[in-house]
Symmetry: C2
Subunit: 596 residues, 2 copies
């Protein structure tokens, strides 16, 4: 099916919007009237610009309060409608959206509404235009799609049909099953928006909290299936606005939007994509820094050994257990302090994983390794983190490790790191929802439930994604301070089988984040721990959590170097969380460290 | 009454919070448990720090899920409670907040709840501690204050009372009148928070949308009156959190909080302040710039003449009608492009106005004029704009104009400016609510209704404040892009009696913001205008609005210089708005101009 997006859904001038939408690969747009009125281009120039960009203009919107009117008001409404029809002719748009009346003066009279809509359709028809009537969820009298359809049916004019908007339908709790009662050719347009379930005033909900499909709680897959079953074959169009993404750059919003629509079409069975290839492990985490000293000191303290040296580049490989950390000092990578720049993901089929990513508009990066290197398929996550798909355990594919010459041996000791438990990536404010959709649809990870974590600067929304056996876990959180002076830190959580030995070994040299005594006083009141256990945790700075079934999670943090820090965790097999209960303690300690 | 605030209401570490709260002049705080757990200070050190700052520790909070429990769960709860009591002794806090149970396991049994709360109170009493039981609005079974009180009454222990929180009471629609049934000495604590009326899930509402008193829609004045009538004489404590202000600097949040509480006490009749002295006019607007050329060119084009020159400082006075603009090139004022740095407000009693400001914690600025200058009382608005209180029409007080030596005469011509219609100040994201409270409580202006205006970057909340006869109008709006690359512009709207002549005169030299043709096509469809009227507006770039009663508002904008631009308006006397209908056209044109 053809894909479309309303110009109101991205930021900027109309020209910027059209450019961004075209680059993201949409087939066309809905023109939002305010975007036209604010544009210095004449309608004919907009039509030409869209055509040059390969964009169809599917819909002009909105017309408001056109039915259920007094004779006077209806005459004024028709006058303005005729003007819009003329503008639409100049634009070359043949469908207009008419929203159900929200005015307190609207009459509760379906026969009157039908008669007036019919008159509007007769006029539209003279201009070769079709009117798509939509029930707003907060329409004064007409606020459900079935009532809108009954009125359209009664009006009985070929230039009059309905527009189905998933937000308005699902926010009212209506059942899309009922679309079956509407002949496909009478559905003139379909608009899609998701939203979190919020139980709030529906107008405010719509205005501030719409999301792209797959980023909220509505069942849009069933919505699209119902629309398709009815015989509708027009475009699927996104109409989304909220307080966050319109402040983002138009290009990245359009890419996010296009991805959500592609993933939705796949889910609804109207589009086939290369299958998702979920990663099977974290091959490596790559730190970039101009100064290797702080990171070398910390990796050594954590027990890592430098086991390899890249044959052609200033990249070192550090290993311990199955955990691998690359330290890259290539000048081109910019910035000074260490930051987490890339993740290697073990993939059963890197080529297929990259094809999947490409089909969902993920930027497949120029392979930046040298010509002599092992080829690595690479995509960029929304926050710019590079994801390498690495062949693992495949004899037929080259191994990225072959690029490294041996430089030393890993050693095993008490409290050794066994591997990477998870990676935590703080997302910029306006890219959190986009990141969740990316990791789910492009990378094939499944989202866990969301939690709010308190932070010295407010609440921090947080949600993890993982593969089936949890061997790849990525914890995403939103930076609570959009205008913060500090850059958000990322962290790498390392697994151990003996947290106490690990803390003893690593903590000795003062590498760890201090944990306040008050935390331990409280911990002793919350849980009955074994003899000496609390004292040990207190002495070593280990944090403790236990879930409802008694599974434990014990962990500690290193201090932050540059924009990155490490966590060491010992996780009971049943424990599914990330120690969120004590996140506020960690965040406050880090805040205090920044101030110091 | 003593004033208090919960530490959760400001950002930072516990020490930062205590400092900010003390500086803002609160008598004490509620200690939020997470703030204690995250602090590296021992409870005794916190007690000492608070005492050094002159802060009392009024309350420790919260205890959760303490009643309606199984025997097992209750035993665990008592164990943890005893620990808290010990910590409270170390802190020197004698009241603890216990919230009603929210767990799905909670039993719906008031007798059980009363018995368990009584046992808790007996234990608390041994530590010299009182338990204040609060009905959370989303409590599983106990979610109204009257039910909480019935349980407390049944438990009948001197160490057990209720806590009344305005959010929980008013969000449930309960009537504070009923407080009369509770003996004052059984009200152990009172928490205050305002909120916008939203009709959403009450937990999310509480977590993300609380506001300081006077910034939302709740009737807190009546709430406080009811509390006082019951005989309560404990502290009034703010417990507020939302998505915005905790990201602000702790100091300014605490000042805003303290001001809201002072204004609320005044409204409730428990505190007398110097009376508000509303301004009677805008005496001047002051622009600061290092380069006078662009502003000189624009002021001349607008028809202003340089009529005065400050006797001791590099400040010029420009006049037209009653509109006065100061242009200040003092190097100390910083920045380069012109920006709107100050407003002069005609005041019937500048000294009293300054006293009022001081009593509400508004920073009264060091009088920056030289010793030889006429004294001007000056306060800083939350966004840093300086407000001068100027004596006007008072023979007994010195006139600020005496500081200026005559430099020329104002001229009158067709389409002259008659005065300043309004000033529009874009507020930083986290200071919008604070600014509204400031102009209302400190300056004595009354707020109009709020509107949302669409912008290329999202919705822009906007609200005006004015004096009684609308001779002082300030339009406040919120910058929709917290991380925006561009600085928000402020503007000065000048009044004229002949908008067409004004536009002809000023527009000739290309000083005006261009308005798209599409706007005029639509305008002609919306209104039936007089013959030639639409053509005139189109040719001159005049925007047009008409309210429901037919009153007109016609206006145009200059291009932006630095961070400021001018608007010229002709307002029918009955028209109360600011042409919001076409704000999106102006904002889009300005966005396009920035991109160019």
């Amino acid at each position: 099916m053809r894909t479309s997006i309303a110009t109101v859904s991205v930021s900027g001038t109309l020209t910027e919007k059209l450019n961004a939408v075209a680059r993201a690969g949409f087939d066309g747009v809905e023109i939002f009237e305010n975007d036209l009125l604010g544009s210095s281009l004449a309608p004919e120039q907009i039509r030409e610009r869209a055509s040059d960009l390969g964009l169809e203009l599917f819909l002009y919107q909105p017309m408001r309060d056109v039915e259920g009117l007094s004779a006077d008001a209806f005459a004024r409404s028709m006058r303005r409608a005729e003007h819009k029809f003329r503008v639409m002719r100049r634009l070359g748009v043949d469908t207009v959206l008419a929203c159900s009346n929200v005015s307190a003066h609207a009459r509760d009279d379906d026969a009157l509404a039908a008669a007036q809509l019919r008159e509007l359709a007769v006029l539209a028809d003279e201009y070769g235009i079709r009117v798509a009537y939509e029930a707003l969820a907060w329409g004064r009298h007409v606020n459900t799609y079935d009532r809108a359809w009954r009125i359209v049916e009664a009006a009985d004019h070929p230039a009059l049909g309905v527009c189905l908007d998933s937000f308005h339908v699902l926010a009212r709790g209506s059942d899309p099953e009922g679309f079956a009662a509407i002949p496909g050719e009478k559905i003139f347009f379909v608009q899609l928006a998701d939203a979190p379930l919020m139980g709030m005033d529906v107008l405010q909900w719509s205005r501030h909290h719409r999301l792209f499909p797959g980023q909220g709680d509505f069942d849009l897959t069933e919505f699209v299936r119902s629309v398709v079953r009815s015989g509708y074959d027009g475009p699927l169009s996104l109409e989304v606005f909220n307080d966050v993404f319109r402040q983002a750059e138009s290009g990245s919003t359009a890419v996010d939007a296009r991805r959500s629509l592609t993933a939705l079409q796949e889910a609804a069975g109207v589009l086939e994509l290369p299958a998702a290839v979920a990663p099977t492990g974290i091959a490596f985490a790559e730190l970039v820094t101009m100064d290797t000293e702080p990171v070398t000191v910390l990796l050594q303290a954590l027990g890592f050994s430098r086991t390899g040296k890249h044959r052609f580049k200033p990249v070192d490989l550090w290993e311990q257990g199955t955990a691998r950390v690359l330290v890259n000092t290539e000048p081109a990578t910019g910035g000074s302090g260490p930051r987490l720049a890339a993740l290697g993901l073990d993939s059963p089929d890197p080529g297929a994983a990259a094809k999947r990513a490409e089909s969902l508009g993920a930027p497949v990066l120029p392979r930046r390794r040298a010509r002599t290197d092992v080829l690595l398929e690479t995509v960029a996550a929304p926050d710019g983190t590079e994801l390498f798909f690495c062949a693992s355990g495949r004899q037929d594919l080259p191994d990225w490790l072959d690029d490294f010459a041996a430089a030393g041996d890993a050693v095993s000791q008490a409290g050794s790191i066994t591997g990477i438990d998870h990676v935590a990536l703080t997302q910029p404010w306006h890219q959190y929802d986009e990141a969740l959709l990316f990791y789910r649809s492009v990378i094939g990870l499944r989202p866990h439930g969301g939690v709010d974590v308190s932070d010295p600067y407010g609440l921090r929304r947080s949600r993890a994604v993982s593969n089936q056996d949890d061997s790849v876990r990525i914890a995403l959180s939103i930076d609570p301070a959009p205008g913060a002076s500090h850059r958000a830190s990322q962290h790498i959580a390392l697994a151990t089988d003996d947290i106490v030995a690990a803390a003893r070994r690593i903590g000795a040299a003062g590498h760890l984040l201090p944990v306040p005594d008050n935390y331990y006083d409280d911990l002793g009141a919350r849980y009955v721990l074994g003899p000496g256990e609390l004292q040990t945790y207190r002495a070593l700075g280990i944090l403790y959590d236990r879930d409802g079934r008694g599974s434990q999670f014990r962990h500690f943090y290193t201090r932050t170097i540059g924009d990155v820090f490490f966590e060491v965790v010992q996780r009971d097999s049943g424990y599914a969380g990330f120690g969120e209960q004590s996140a506020h303690v960690r965040l406050t300690a880090q805040h205090a460290q920044r101030q110091a």
